[in-house]
Symmetry: C2
Subunit: 228 residues, 2 copies
Protein backbone atom coordinates (compact mmCIF):
# COMPACT_ATOMS: atom_id res chain seq x y z
CA UNK A 1 0.00 0.00 0.00
CA UNK A 2 0.98 3.62 -0.38
CA UNK A 3 3.00 5.53 2.13
CA UNK A 4 4.08 2.61 4.26
CA UNK A 5 6.76 3.95 6.55
CA UNK A 6 8.55 2.72 9.62
CA UNK A 7 7.89 4.86 12.66
CA UNK A 8 11.25 6.52 13.30
CA UNK A 9 12.88 5.58 16.64
CA UNK A 10 11.57 7.86 19.35
CA UNK A 11 8.60 8.98 17.28
CA UNK A 12 5.15 8.58 18.72
CA UNK A 13 2.85 6.01 17.14
CA UNK A 14 -0.26 8.06 17.88
CA UNK A 15 -1.64 11.46 16.93
CA UNK A 16 -2.04 13.98 19.74
CA UNK A 17 -5.63 14.44 20.80
CA UNK A 18 -6.99 17.98 20.39
CA UNK A 19 -10.24 19.68 21.30
CA UNK A 20 -11.49 19.04 17.75
CA UNK A 21 -10.62 15.35 17.78
CA UNK A 22 -11.75 14.58 21.33
CA UNK A 23 -14.97 12.54 21.22
CA UNK A 24 -18.07 14.01 22.89
CA UNK A 25 -19.61 10.53 23.15
CA UNK A 26 -18.78 6.84 22.49
CA UNK A 27 -15.22 7.59 23.65
CA UNK A 28 -14.42 3.86 23.50
CA UNK A 29 -14.78 4.02 19.71
CA UNK A 30 -12.16 6.73 19.25
CA UNK A 31 -8.51 6.05 18.44
CA UNK A 32 -5.44 8.09 17.58
CA UNK A 33 -3.31 5.12 16.52
CA UNK A 34 -1.34 5.93 13.38
CA UNK A 35 -1.33 2.39 12.02
CA UNK A 36 -5.11 2.16 12.33
CA UNK A 37 -5.55 5.59 10.73
CA UNK A 38 -3.27 4.67 7.82
CA UNK A 39 -5.06 1.35 7.26
CA UNK A 40 -8.49 3.04 7.14
CA UNK A 41 -7.19 5.73 4.77
CA UNK A 42 -5.43 3.27 2.49
CA UNK A 43 -8.54 1.09 2.10
CA UNK A 44 -10.75 3.93 0.92
CA UNK A 45 -11.26 5.23 -2.60
CA UNK A 46 -13.17 8.41 -1.96
CA UNK A 47 -12.79 10.93 0.83
CA UNK A 48 -15.32 13.60 1.69
CA UNK A 49 -13.59 16.95 1.67
CA UNK A 50 -15.25 19.73 3.62
CA UNK A 51 -14.45 23.41 3.35
CA UNK A 52 -16.22 26.72 3.92
CA UNK A 53 -17.42 28.83 1.00
CA UNK A 54 -19.21 32.14 1.61
CA UNK A 55 -19.64 31.12 5.23
CA UNK A 56 -21.44 27.86 4.41
CA UNK A 57 -20.09 24.30 4.50
CA UNK A 58 -19.41 22.35 1.29
CA UNK A 59 -18.69 18.60 1.26
CA UNK A 60 -17.44 17.03 -1.96
CA UNK A 61 -16.36 13.45 -2.69
CA UNK A 62 -12.92 13.21 -4.22
CA UNK A 63 -10.04 10.81 -4.78
CA UNK A 64 -6.97 11.08 -2.56
CA UNK A 65 -3.53 9.62 -2.06
CA UNK A 66 -1.18 9.23 0.92
CA UNK A 67 2.58 9.54 1.17
CA UNK A 68 3.61 8.93 4.76
CA UNK A 69 1.99 11.54 6.95
CA UNK A 70 0.70 13.66 4.07
CA UNK A 71 -2.50 13.34 2.05
CA UNK A 72 -2.98 14.67 -1.46
CA UNK A 73 -6.13 15.68 -3.28
CA UNK A 74 -6.17 16.78 -6.89
CA UNK A 75 -8.49 18.31 -9.39
CA UNK A 76 -8.82 20.67 -12.28
CA UNK A 77 -7.06 23.99 -11.76
CA UNK A 78 -10.54 25.45 -12.31
CA UNK A 79 -12.16 23.62 -9.39
CA UNK A 80 -13.39 25.93 -6.66
CA UNK A 81 -11.78 24.41 -3.53
CA UNK A 82 -8.43 23.90 -5.22
CA UNK A 83 -8.44 27.47 -6.48
CA UNK A 84 -9.32 28.62 -2.97
CA UNK A 85 -6.44 26.62 -1.46
CA UNK A 86 -4.02 28.18 -3.91
CA UNK A 87 -5.29 31.71 -3.36
CA UNK A 88 -5.66 31.62 0.41
CA UNK A 89 -2.82 32.40 2.75
CA UNK A 90 -1.82 30.25 4.58
CA UNK A 91 -4.12 27.81 2.77
CA UNK A 92 -7.67 26.51 2.98
CA UNK A 93 -9.05 25.10 6.26
CA UNK A 94 -10.50 21.68 5.45
CA UNK A 95 -11.87 18.58 7.10
CA UNK A 96 -11.23 15.34 5.21
CA UNK A 97 -13.21 12.26 6.19
CA UNK A 98 -13.02 8.64 5.03
CA UNK A 99 -15.62 6.07 6.10
CA UNK A 100 -16.07 2.33 5.55
CA UNK A 101 -19.41 0.65 6.30
CA UNK A 102 -18.74 -2.95 7.35
CA UNK A 103 -22.06 -4.31 8.59
CA UNK A 104 -25.65 -3.42 9.43
CA UNK A 105 -26.39 -3.90 13.13
CA UNK A 106 -30.01 -4.95 13.71
CA UNK A 107 -30.98 -4.69 17.35
CA UNK A 108 -34.24 -5.70 19.02
CA UNK A 109 -34.98 -2.02 19.68
CA UNK A 110 -35.03 0.67 17.03
CA UNK A 111 -32.84 2.77 19.32
CA UNK A 112 -29.91 0.33 19.22
CA UNK A 113 -29.87 -0.12 15.46
CA UNK A 114 -26.47 0.87 14.17
CA UNK A 115 -23.79 0.05 11.67
CA UNK A 116 -20.30 -1.29 12.09
CA UNK A 117 -17.97 1.25 10.52
CA UNK A 118 -14.44 2.59 10.50
CA UNK A 119 -13.82 6.27 9.86
CA UNK A 120 -10.98 8.77 9.93
CA UNK A 121 -11.44 12.51 10.31
CA UNK A 122 -8.54 14.85 9.46
CA UNK A 123 -8.62 18.55 10.35
CA UNK A 124 -6.06 20.90 8.88
CA UNK A 125 -4.99 23.41 6.28
CA UNK A 126 -4.80 22.37 2.62
CA UNK A 127 -1.82 23.86 0.78
CA UNK A 128 -1.30 24.18 -2.94
CA UNK A 129 1.57 21.89 -4.04
CA UNK A 130 3.85 24.04 -6.18
CA UNK A 131 7.09 22.00 -6.13
CA UNK A 132 7.12 20.06 -9.45
CA UNK A 133 8.80 16.96 -7.94
CA UNK A 134 6.32 16.76 -5.08
CA UNK A 135 3.45 17.27 -7.51
CA UNK A 136 4.62 14.31 -9.61
CA UNK A 137 5.00 12.14 -6.50
CA UNK A 138 1.52 13.19 -5.38
CA UNK A 139 -0.04 12.28 -8.73
CA UNK A 140 1.68 8.87 -8.61
CA UNK A 141 0.32 8.40 -5.09
CA UNK A 142 -3.18 9.24 -6.32
CA UNK A 143 -2.95 6.62 -9.09
CA UNK A 144 -1.38 4.04 -6.78
CA UNK A 145 -4.14 4.66 -4.27
CA UNK A 146 -6.65 3.36 -6.85
CA UNK A 147 -4.51 0.26 -7.53
CA UNK A 148 -1.15 -0.16 -5.75
CA UNK A 149 1.69 -0.22 -8.28
CA UNK A 150 -0.45 1.12 -11.10
CA UNK A 151 1.56 4.33 -11.62
CA UNK A 152 4.45 2.25 -12.98
CA UNK A 153 2.12 0.68 -15.55
CA UNK A 154 0.56 3.79 -17.09
CA UNK A 155 1.73 6.84 -18.96
CA UNK A 156 2.91 9.59 -16.56
CA UNK A 157 1.40 13.06 -16.80
CA UNK A 158 2.82 15.25 -19.54
CA UNK A 159 3.47 18.97 -19.27
CA UNK A 160 -0.02 19.96 -20.43
CA UNK A 161 -1.73 17.59 -17.99
CA UNK A 162 0.47 18.78 -15.11
CA UNK A 163 -0.43 22.38 -15.87
CA UNK A 164 -4.14 21.54 -15.93
CA UNK A 165 -4.01 19.69 -12.60
CA UNK A 166 -3.99 21.34 -9.19
CA UNK A 167 -2.77 19.31 -6.20
CA UNK A 168 -3.21 20.23 -2.56
CA UNK A 169 -1.59 18.60 0.46
CA UNK A 170 -2.95 18.04 3.94
CA UNK A 171 -0.67 16.88 6.73
CA UNK A 172 -1.82 14.20 9.15
CA UNK A 173 -1.51 16.07 12.44
CA UNK A 174 -4.96 16.57 13.86
CA UNK A 175 -6.45 13.15 13.18
CA UNK A 176 -8.76 10.67 14.82
CA UNK A 177 -10.25 7.31 13.91
CA UNK A 178 -13.57 5.97 15.07
CA UNK A 179 -14.52 2.30 14.90
CA UNK A 180 -17.68 0.43 15.79
CA UNK A 181 -17.30 -3.34 15.58
CA UNK A 182 -18.77 -6.40 17.22
CA UNK A 183 -22.35 -7.45 17.76
CA UNK A 184 -25.67 -6.12 18.95
CA UNK A 185 -26.00 -4.20 22.22
CA UNK A 186 -29.58 -4.40 23.44
CA UNK A 187 -31.18 -3.33 26.69
CA UNK A 188 -31.22 -6.25 29.18
CA UNK A 189 -35.02 -6.49 29.17
CA UNK A 190 -35.18 -6.59 25.34
CA UNK A 191 -33.34 -9.89 24.89
CA UNK A 192 -36.59 -11.79 25.45
CA UNK A 193 -38.30 -10.01 22.53
CA UNK A 194 -39.12 -12.18 19.49
CA UNK A 195 -37.36 -9.89 16.98
CA UNK A 196 -34.45 -11.30 14.99
CA UNK A 197 -31.23 -9.48 15.85
CA UNK A 198 -27.73 -9.72 14.49
CA UNK A 199 -25.34 -8.44 11.88
CA UNK A 200 -25.68 -8.20 8.11
CA UNK A 201 -22.08 -7.85 6.83
CA UNK A 202 -21.65 -5.87 3.62
CA UNK A 203 -19.99 -7.69 0.77
CA UNK A 204 -16.49 -6.39 -0.01
CA UNK A 205 -14.04 -6.95 -2.82
CA UNK A 206 -14.05 -6.76 -6.59
CA UNK A 207 -15.83 -8.26 -9.56
CA UNK A 208 -13.81 -9.51 -12.53
CA UNK A 209 -11.99 -6.74 -14.40
CA UNK A 210 -13.72 -5.62 -17.62
CA UNK A 211 -11.12 -4.89 -20.33
CA UNK A 212 -11.50 -1.81 -22.48
CA UNK A 213 -12.62 -2.93 -25.98
CA UNK A 214 -9.72 -1.04 -27.54
CA UNK A 215 -6.80 -2.75 -25.74
CA UNK A 216 -3.64 -2.93 -27.84
CA UNK A 217 -3.29 -6.45 -29.31
CA UNK A 218 -1.67 -8.92 -26.92
CA UNK A 219 -2.27 -6.84 -23.77
CA UNK A 220 -2.75 -9.28 -20.89
CA UNK A 221 -4.41 -8.68 -17.53
CA UNK A 222 -1.57 -7.57 -15.24
CA UNK A 223 -0.69 -9.61 -12.15
CA UNK A 224 -1.62 -6.81 -9.77
CA UNK A 225 -5.21 -7.03 -11.03
CA UNK A 226 -5.44 -10.81 -11.26
CA UNK A 227 -4.67 -10.90 -7.54
CA UNK A 228 -7.40 -8.48 -6.47
CA UNK B 1 -37.59 1.76 -0.25
CA UNK B 2 -38.25 4.68 2.07
CA UNK B 3 -40.04 7.79 1.07
CA UNK B 4 -41.26 6.58 -2.29
CA UNK B 5 -43.77 9.16 -3.48
CA UNK B 6 -45.54 9.89 -6.68
CA UNK B 7 -44.66 13.23 -8.18
CA UNK B 8 -47.89 15.22 -7.80
CA UNK B 9 -49.45 16.32 -11.09
CA UNK B 10 -47.93 19.61 -12.17
CA UNK B 11 -44.97 19.27 -9.84
CA UNK B 12 -41.52 19.46 -11.32
CA UNK B 13 -39.49 16.26 -11.38
CA UNK B 14 -36.20 18.11 -11.01
CA UNK B 15 -34.56 20.35 -8.43
CA UNK B 16 -33.85 23.93 -9.48
CA UNK B 17 -30.21 24.55 -10.23
CA UNK B 18 -28.54 27.19 -8.02
CA UNK B 19 -25.13 28.82 -7.98
CA UNK B 20 -24.02 26.30 -5.35
CA UNK B 21 -25.22 23.27 -7.31
CA UNK B 22 -24.08 24.41 -10.75
CA UNK B 23 -21.06 22.34 -11.83
CA UNK B 24 -17.81 24.19 -12.55
CA UNK B 25 -16.60 21.26 -14.68
CA UNK B 26 -17.78 17.89 -16.04
CA UNK B 27 -21.20 19.43 -16.52
CA UNK B 28 -22.34 16.29 -18.34
CA UNK B 29 -22.07 14.38 -15.07
CA UNK B 30 -24.44 16.67 -13.16
CA UNK B 31 -28.15 15.98 -12.74
CA UNK B 32 -31.06 17.52 -10.84
CA UNK B 33 -33.46 14.66 -11.47
CA UNK B 34 -35.45 13.85 -8.33
CA UNK B 35 -35.79 10.14 -9.07
CA UNK B 36 -32.06 9.77 -9.53
CA UNK B 37 -31.35 11.78 -6.37
CA UNK B 38 -33.79 9.66 -4.34
CA UNK B 39 -32.31 6.42 -5.67
CA UNK B 40 -28.76 7.45 -4.75
CA UNK B 41 -29.87 8.59 -1.30
CA UNK B 42 -31.90 5.46 -0.62
CA UNK B 43 -29.03 3.13 -1.53
CA UNK B 44 -26.57 4.70 0.93
CA UNK B 45 -26.07 3.89 4.59
CA UNK B 46 -23.85 6.75 5.69
CA UNK B 47 -23.93 10.37 4.65
CA UNK B 48 -21.14 12.85 5.27
CA UNK B 49 -22.58 15.82 7.12
CA UNK B 50 -20.61 19.05 6.90
CA UNK B 51 -21.07 22.08 9.09
CA UNK B 52 -18.99 25.01 10.31
CA UNK B 53 -17.67 25.13 13.89
CA UNK B 54 -15.60 28.08 15.07
CA UNK B 55 -15.16 29.10 11.44
CA UNK B 56 -13.68 25.75 10.37
CA UNK B 57 -15.34 22.92 8.44
CA UNK B 58 -16.28 19.65 10.15
CA UNK B 59 -17.33 16.54 8.20
CA UNK B 60 -18.81 13.62 10.14
CA UNK B 61 -20.23 10.32 8.88
CA UNK B 62 -23.71 9.61 10.15
CA UNK B 63 -26.82 7.55 9.41
CA UNK B 64 -29.79 9.22 7.77
CA UNK B 65 -33.33 8.56 6.64
CA UNK B 66 -35.62 10.03 3.99
CA UNK B 67 -39.34 10.77 4.02
CA UNK B 68 -40.33 12.24 0.67
CA UNK B 69 -38.41 15.47 0.17
CA UNK B 70 -37.02 15.62 3.69
CA UNK B 71 -33.93 13.97 5.17
CA UNK B 72 -33.41 13.19 8.83
CA UNK B 73 -30.22 12.79 10.83
CA UNK B 74 -30.18 11.81 14.46
CA UNK B 75 -27.78 11.57 17.33
CA UNK B 76 -27.32 12.00 21.02
CA UNK B 77 -28.76 15.23 22.40
CA UNK B 78 -25.17 15.86 23.55
CA UNK B 79 -23.66 15.71 20.05
CA UNK B 80 -22.15 18.99 18.93
CA UNK B 81 -23.80 19.50 15.51
CA UNK B 82 -27.24 18.49 16.76
CA UNK B 83 -26.91 20.85 19.71
CA UNK B 84 -25.85 23.58 17.33
CA UNK B 85 -28.86 22.94 15.07
CA UNK B 86 -31.19 23.19 18.06
CA UNK B 87 -29.61 26.36 19.41
CA UNK B 88 -29.13 28.24 16.14
CA UNK B 89 -31.84 30.40 14.68
CA UNK B 90 -32.99 29.64 11.99
CA UNK B 91 -30.97 26.41 12.18
CA UNK B 92 -27.55 25.11 11.21
CA UNK B 93 -26.22 25.53 7.65
CA UNK B 94 -25.11 22.09 6.51
CA UNK B 95 -23.98 20.22 3.43
CA UNK B 96 -24.97 16.56 3.32
CA UNK B 97 -23.24 14.30 0.80
CA UNK B 98 -23.80 10.64 -0.11
CA UNK B 99 -21.42 8.81 -2.47
CA UNK B 100 -21.31 5.34 -3.98
CA UNK B 101 -18.14 4.01 -5.60
CA UNK B 102 -19.10 1.60 -8.39
CA UNK B 103 -15.88 0.81 -10.25
CA UNK B 104 -12.21 1.68 -10.57
CA UNK B 105 -11.42 3.17 -13.98
CA UNK B 106 -7.90 2.27 -15.13
CA UNK B 107 -6.81 4.33 -18.09
CA UNK B 108 -3.62 4.07 -20.13
CA UNK B 109 -2.52 7.45 -18.77
CA UNK B 110 -2.30 8.31 -15.10
CA UNK B 111 -4.23 11.49 -15.88
CA UNK B 112 -7.37 9.64 -17.00
CA UNK B 113 -7.54 7.27 -14.04
CA UNK B 114 -10.87 7.74 -12.33
CA UNK B 115 -13.68 5.97 -10.59
CA UNK B 116 -17.27 5.38 -11.55
CA UNK B 117 -19.40 6.89 -8.84
CA UNK B 118 -22.80 8.32 -8.01
CA UNK B 119 -23.09 11.13 -5.49
CA UNK B 120 -25.68 13.53 -4.15
CA UNK B 121 -24.88 16.86 -2.50
CA UNK B 122 -27.57 18.63 -0.47
CA UNK B 123 -27.13 22.22 0.74
CA UNK B 124 -29.50 23.64 3.31
CA UNK B 125 -30.41 24.49 6.86
CA UNK B 126 -30.79 21.68 9.41
CA UNK B 127 -33.67 22.23 11.85
CA UNK B 128 -34.26 20.58 15.16
CA UNK B 129 -37.34 18.34 14.97
CA UNK B 130 -39.47 19.21 17.97
CA UNK B 131 -42.88 17.82 16.94
CA UNK B 132 -43.19 14.43 18.73
CA UNK B 133 -45.08 12.77 15.86
CA UNK B 134 -42.56 13.89 13.26
CA UNK B 135 -39.73 12.77 15.51
CA UNK B 136 -41.22 9.27 15.76
CA UNK B 137 -41.72 9.11 11.98
CA UNK B 138 -38.13 10.27 11.49
CA UNK B 139 -36.74 7.59 13.80
CA UNK B 140 -38.76 4.94 11.94
CA UNK B 141 -37.36 6.28 8.67
CA UNK B 142 -33.81 6.02 10.06
CA UNK B 143 -34.37 2.37 11.03
CA UNK B 144 -36.12 1.57 7.75
CA UNK B 145 -33.25 3.17 5.88
CA UNK B 146 -30.93 0.48 7.30
CA UNK B 147 -33.36 -2.29 6.28
CA UNK B 148 -36.69 -1.41 4.62
CA UNK B 149 -39.59 -2.53 6.82
CA UNK B 150 -37.41 -3.10 9.87
CA UNK B 151 -39.14 -0.49 12.07
CA UNK B 152 -42.25 -2.70 12.17
CA UNK B 153 -40.12 -5.60 13.48
CA UNK B 154 -38.34 -3.92 16.39
CA UNK B 155 -39.28 -2.24 19.64
CA UNK B 156 -40.14 1.45 19.10
CA UNK B 157 -38.31 4.10 21.08
CA UNK B 158 -39.60 4.63 24.62
CA UNK B 159 -39.91 7.97 26.37
CA UNK B 160 -36.36 7.87 27.79
CA UNK B 161 -34.82 7.02 24.41
CA UNK B 162 -36.83 9.74 22.69
CA UNK B 163 -35.60 12.30 25.20
CA UNK B 164 -31.99 11.21 24.70
CA UNK B 165 -32.20 11.43 20.89
CA UNK B 166 -32.00 14.62 18.89
CA UNK B 167 -33.31 14.61 15.31
CA UNK B 168 -32.70 17.28 12.72
CA UNK B 169 -34.39 17.65 9.34
CA UNK B 170 -32.99 18.90 6.05
CA UNK B 171 -35.29 19.60 3.12
CA UNK B 172 -34.34 18.52 -0.38
CA UNK B 173 -34.39 21.87 -2.16
CA UNK B 174 -30.86 22.74 -3.20
CA UNK B 175 -29.70 19.37 -4.46
CA UNK B 176 -27.60 17.92 -7.24
CA UNK B 177 -26.44 14.48 -8.27
CA UNK B 178 -23.22 13.68 -10.05
CA UNK B 179 -22.61 10.42 -11.89
CA UNK B 180 -19.62 9.02 -13.72
CA UNK B 181 -20.35 5.78 -15.53
CA UNK B 182 -19.12 3.94 -18.57
CA UNK B 183 -15.67 3.01 -19.68
CA UNK B 184 -12.19 4.45 -20.09
CA UNK B 185 -11.60 7.78 -21.84
CA UNK B 186 -8.02 7.94 -23.07
CA UNK B 187 -6.24 10.42 -25.31
CA UNK B 188 -6.43 9.29 -28.97
CA UNK B 189 -2.64 8.74 -29.19
CA UNK B 190 -2.61 6.60 -26.00
CA UNK B 191 -4.75 3.74 -27.34
CA UNK B 192 -1.66 2.15 -28.90
CA UNK B 193 0.12 1.93 -25.53
CA UNK B 194 0.65 -1.58 -24.13
CA UNK B 195 -0.94 -0.83 -20.72
CA UNK B 196 -4.01 -2.82 -19.71
CA UNK B 197 -7.03 -0.52 -19.39
CA UNK B 198 -10.56 -1.12 -18.25
CA UNK B 199 -12.92 -1.21 -15.31
CA UNK B 200 -12.66 -3.05 -12.01
CA UNK B 201 -16.23 -3.10 -10.63
CA UNK B 202 -16.57 -3.10 -6.87
CA UNK B 203 -18.47 -6.00 -5.37
CA UNK B 204 -21.84 -5.01 -3.93
CA UNK B 205 -24.40 -6.73 -1.78
CA UNK B 206 -24.50 -8.58 1.51
CA UNK B 207 -22.92 -11.57 3.19
CA UNK B 208 -25.12 -14.03 5.09
CA UNK B 209 -26.73 -12.52 8.19
CA UNK B 210 -25.01 -13.44 11.48
CA UNK B 211 -27.58 -14.03 14.22
CA UNK B 212 -26.99 -12.60 17.67
CA UNK B 213 -26.06 -15.52 20.00
CA UNK B 214 -28.83 -14.48 22.39
CA UNK B 215 -31.83 -14.70 20.04
CA UNK B 216 -35.05 -15.67 21.82
CA UNK B 217 -35.77 -19.38 21.17
CA UNK B 218 -37.54 -20.06 17.91
CA UNK B 219 -36.67 -16.68 16.32
CA UNK B 220 -36.33 -17.25 12.58
CA UNK B 221 -34.52 -15.12 10.01
CA UNK B 222 -37.20 -12.71 8.73
CA UNK B 223 -38.16 -12.72 5.07
CA UNK B 224 -36.95 -9.16 4.49
CA UNK B 225 -33.42 -10.35 5.36
CA UNK B 226 -33.55 -13.67 3.55
CA UNK B 227 -34.23 -11.72 0.37
CA UNK B 228 -31.26 -9.35 0.68
Amino acid sequence: MQGTQQTPPGATAAYARTDRTAPTRSADRASYDKELVHAILDEGYVCHLGFVRDGAPVVLPTLYGRVGERLYVHGSTGSRPLRAAGQSDPGLPVCLTVTHVDALVLARSGFHHSINYRSVVVHGIAHDVTDPEEKLRALDALVDHVVPGRSRDSRPADRKELAATAVVSLDLNEVSAKVRSGGVNDEPEDYALPHWAGLVPLRKGYESPVPDPRLAPGTELPGYLAGL
